[in-house]
Symmetry: C2
Subunit: 220 residues, 2 copies
DNA sequence: GAAGTAAACTACACTCATTAGTTTACTTTT
DNA sequence: AAAAGTAAACTAATGAGTGTAGTTTACTTC
């Protein structure tokens, strides 16, 4: 049976393009089951027995692949980190042929789409559920992510250097822009209190966020 | 012994201004202990034995006051709701003698101070920890809060009516403003990934949020 | 293609710790 | 004396992790 997870590893597995051993399949089943259960019920409320049952695998097999529950959690969390680290892969240098507004819209839209990805939300939910009462750990993990400059920051700096924008504090302005977006596109989804956004809603939020940002920082 | 909780009931108890029975004291000890433990470790990770120990009360006494653990959680959560429902108590009609900017700053500052209150953060943390995997319940609770108009909304509407601001969608604009503030003042604190804000930081965020908002919506 | 082998899987019974909730026999407060 | 508190032992369930004896799979080797 040819099998490749649509979720983890799919780049790797597909390019490997080979049969998976039964062991690999089982392992993947365990990971998928754990991922799903952790997201749905939380780490605490998910027993190893439950995971084994969901994965249709004996409990012993779960323990053959992951020595402890903690090991399973840590494994999944690392997957999250590598997954969410993919920064928006867009050219971030100022282009005189293109309006700042248009470029900004592209960047914002990319960010919104990241937040709209079901996996992204589900995985951060799982991570936060785990870390909510382990703030030191959370901080350590986040620091790894925080230190890198975002696509926003790079572009804003570039546009400032070309005198298109006038931003005294680029880091602060980036946060403002991100807050405008996250407040509407990330947090409500994260708390599952709002239905997924339609394309029109996304577009509206993107244009309005850009409008407000430019109203403040456009160099006129 | 005269006793009044600095946390729950203090308005009530102080005005009652009378001796508390031992039973009432014990009950309060239990509530305080549960509140603290739930916030620190989460509901799941806090056992009734632990609460009894923290409250320096026998386990049976805990059960005399609260029939089940669930009952204790529900009780505390209701306290949260009534506590956080206190809206900013500021006059929200447009005053021609005062600049919109100044008034907005006052409102924003009040909002920031609410978020900066340790209790507010701790209690929402507890609530979210509990509700993160009970979205339907969360939604139901939030709906009770969401339906009421915020102080922001009332003032913005009033200022629009006096042609001081030009806001096509007041609800949306309110969200934008709130997102600007929450992104810096609430969420980082909520996740305990940022130290509490200094007064300077608060002031900076307040002025910058107002500046961006007015750059977009000021009627000039 | 048949037989052999090591690794991985299975079912299941087990230990040990924790936790929600109860019961009992006795003491303190009001 | 009634109401409320106490310590301590108890039940019943759950859940992490282990040990074991037997089975399946994949991959040789003949």
């Amino acid at each position: 049976m040819y099998y490749f997870s649509l979720f983890f590893f799919y780049g790797v597995i597909v390019s490997k393009n080979t049969k998976l051993t039964r062991s690999e399949i089982k392992r993947q089943d365990i990971i998928d089951a754990a991922c799903q259960a952790f997201q749905e019920f939380g780490v605490q409320a998910t027993s190893m027995d439950k995971i084994a049952e969901l994965a249709q695998v004996s409990k012993r097999t779960v323990y053959n692949h992951f020595a402890t529950k903690q090991a399973l959690v840590v494994y999944l969390l690392n997957e999250i980190r590598t997954r969410t680290l993919v920064d928006v892969d867009i050219d971030t240098t100022y282009d005189p042929l293109r309006s700042v507004e248009s470029k900004l819209l592209t960047l914002i839209t990319a960010e919104i789409n990241l937040y709209s990805c079901g996996h992204y939300i589900d995985l951060t939910r799982m991570a936060f559920g785990h870390f909510l009462y382990h703030p030191e750990e959370l901080k350590r993990e986040l620091d790894k992510v925080m230190t890198q400059e975002t696509a926003f920051q790079r572009y804003l700096r570039s546009a400032c250097e070309h005198k298109q924008l006038n931003i005294p504090d680029i880091k602060f302005a980036t946060d403002q822009l991100q807050n405008l977006i996250k407040g509407s596109c990330f947090w409500p989804q994260f708390l599952k209190i709002e239905a997924p956004l339609t394309d029109e809603q996304k577009h509206h939020i993107a244009t309005e966020s850009a409008a407000m940002f430019l109203a403040r920082y456009n160099n006129k």
